[in-house]
């Protein structure tokens, strides 16, 4: 049970002078239950990549296997795939259209053929998971704040109860507090349900704390695909392609350069603080 991308390439504007190779021979395997961060600079192909995973874009060449089935097979149902692989687009609040929040979240499950009652049950559950206050359920989605709208939009996909959830820049345009809240809730969702989650972002800081694995994209190719610690050890190369490692990585490297024996692979502030404390204790004990 997993998603496998086998030598996927995607070219658009073919046979015109404006031809662009958005994806170039991508091979990727995403096992069940993993929390994966897909990182890349603007135009690196990360959004294009995730749109292939639920069949919205069709690869120019290559194959995609979902739970062992080739999604480009003639008798493969794209509708079923889209119910299993939920995709939340960038700025998803712009897709809201219903008269109240609950009906909007019901749109997905209803399209899957659930009756009103079942759809509403699923919608309630999804809205609870994204932490939207109960009193807002029957308000117009257009009266909510930006962060609340985004939660509603995410709930709209969650209500379809996908096995894989893909979020394309879910924190874009949110303030730091809203960003942390949403990321925290996504992490919680993953630990509670064991759902596979793909988080697309251009900020390492966003994903470092939460994900199990980072895929770094550059110009339509995969540059690194590893656990966060290993990826961040390439922080100089990351800078060259317009990305940056978390600030902690820089501080730890700088400390090491100045003669402190700290752990440079620390990715979160907590880990870094622990390492610095340990180092200071050792220096204090030896003097």
């Amino acid at each position: 049970m997993s998603i496998i991308l086998d030598h996927i390439s995607y070219v658009y504007g073919g046979d015109t002078p404006l031809e662009v190779r958005a994806l170039d021979d991508i091979c990727l395997q995403i096992p069940d239950g993993q929390f994966v961060g897909i990182i890349g600079h603007t135009g690196s192909g990360k959004s294009t990549l995730v749109q292939h995973m639920n069949g919205l874009l069709r690869a120019t060449s290559g194959h995609i296997y979902f739970n062992g089935e080739d999604i480009y097979d003639k008798d493969f149902s794209m509708k079923k795939l889209r119910s299993k692989v939920g995709l939340v687009f960038q700025y998803p609040e712009y897709q809201l259209f219903e008269i109240d929040v609950l009906s909007d979240v019901c749109f997905g499950p209803k399209n899957l053929g659930f009756d009103r009652k079942e759809a509403e049950l699923k919608a309630f559950e999804a809205l609870r998971r994204v932490g939207l206050p109960m009193e807002l359920y029957y308000q117009s989605p257009f009266e909510l704040s930006g962060g609340q709208k985004r939660r509603v939009a995410i709930a709209g996909v969650l209500a379809m109860e996908p096995e894989v959830l893909i979020l394309d820049e879910p924190t874009a345009g949110l303030d730091p507090k809203g960003r942390d809240e949403i990321l925290h809730q996504i992490k919680q969702l993953q630990t509670e349900t064991g759902m596979t989650i793909l988080l697309v972002s251009h900020s390492m800081e966003d994903v470092a704390e939460y994900v199990d694995r980072i895929v770094v994209m550059n110009r339509g190719r995969i540059l690194y695909d590893d656990v966060p610690k290993k990826v961040f050890s390439h922080y100089k190369e990351l800078e060259a392609i317009g990305l940056a490692a978390p600030q902690v990585t820089y501080i730890m490297h700088e400390l090491k350069n100045r003669g402190f024996d700290v752990d440079t692979s620390a990715t979160t502030i907590e880990e870094a603080a622990e390492s610095v404390k340990k180092c200071l204790q050792i220096t204090a004990a030896s003097s």
Partner: protein, 265 residues
Amino acid sequence: MLRDITIGQYYQTESLIHKMDPRVKLGGTLLYIISLFFFRNFWGYVAAAFFLGLVIRLSHVPFRFMVKGMKSILFLLLITVVFNLFLIPGTELVSFWKLTITVEGVRTAVTMAIRLTLLIIGSSVMTLTTTPNNLTDGMEKMMKPLKVFHVPVHEVAMIMSIALRFIPILMEETDKIMKAQIARGADFESGSLVKRARALVPLLVPLFISAFRRANDLAVAMEARCYRGGDGRTKMKPLVYQRRDRVGYLCILIYLVVSITVGRL
């Protein structure tokens, strides 16, 4: 699907026609279209086609680009031809079942088809070689005299250029919203007509909201830059006639005289 529409699209390249003043192209296209309605015989159309071919050659726009634009009006062309073919009374040519084709019918159908084709290709040469902004600039300047009659020329031109600028933005937006709703299980392609019309609601509501939002943002941005209409407003690149523009006008004039004389022999 939406990207196949080439009418009104700009093709970027370097050419004499691209550099020409938009007023020459506008006026020329208008006169060209009018000329098509003056011909009484076949030779006028030959002259018109020859002139058009020459202009296309000079514009460096590949011919298949123009034909692409024709595809969208092929249906209209077909209807015109069919109706003219069967419904014009006159000397009978062939007749089967309840339909008769007359000599006059064939003649009108053929000239109509040629006229429409030349008309559409002719005007697409203008849009393919002129940026929308340039085009509205040209229109604004050409219509300036109408200000005497209190026609809001500048405002109309501004509205037009904004509308043109918004087409690609809204197309992209439509594509995005469509994809987002498909990801939520929406189905835009199957079902009865009523069902399909209903399926458009989740697309149209967000699209309208986003159009209003963008319009509002743009209005604020314009006001923040002290925009207050056309009075006293100057252009960064004012339109000034060059030598090539005068030559352009002369060519159009020569074409008009030649084609109409030949066409009305």
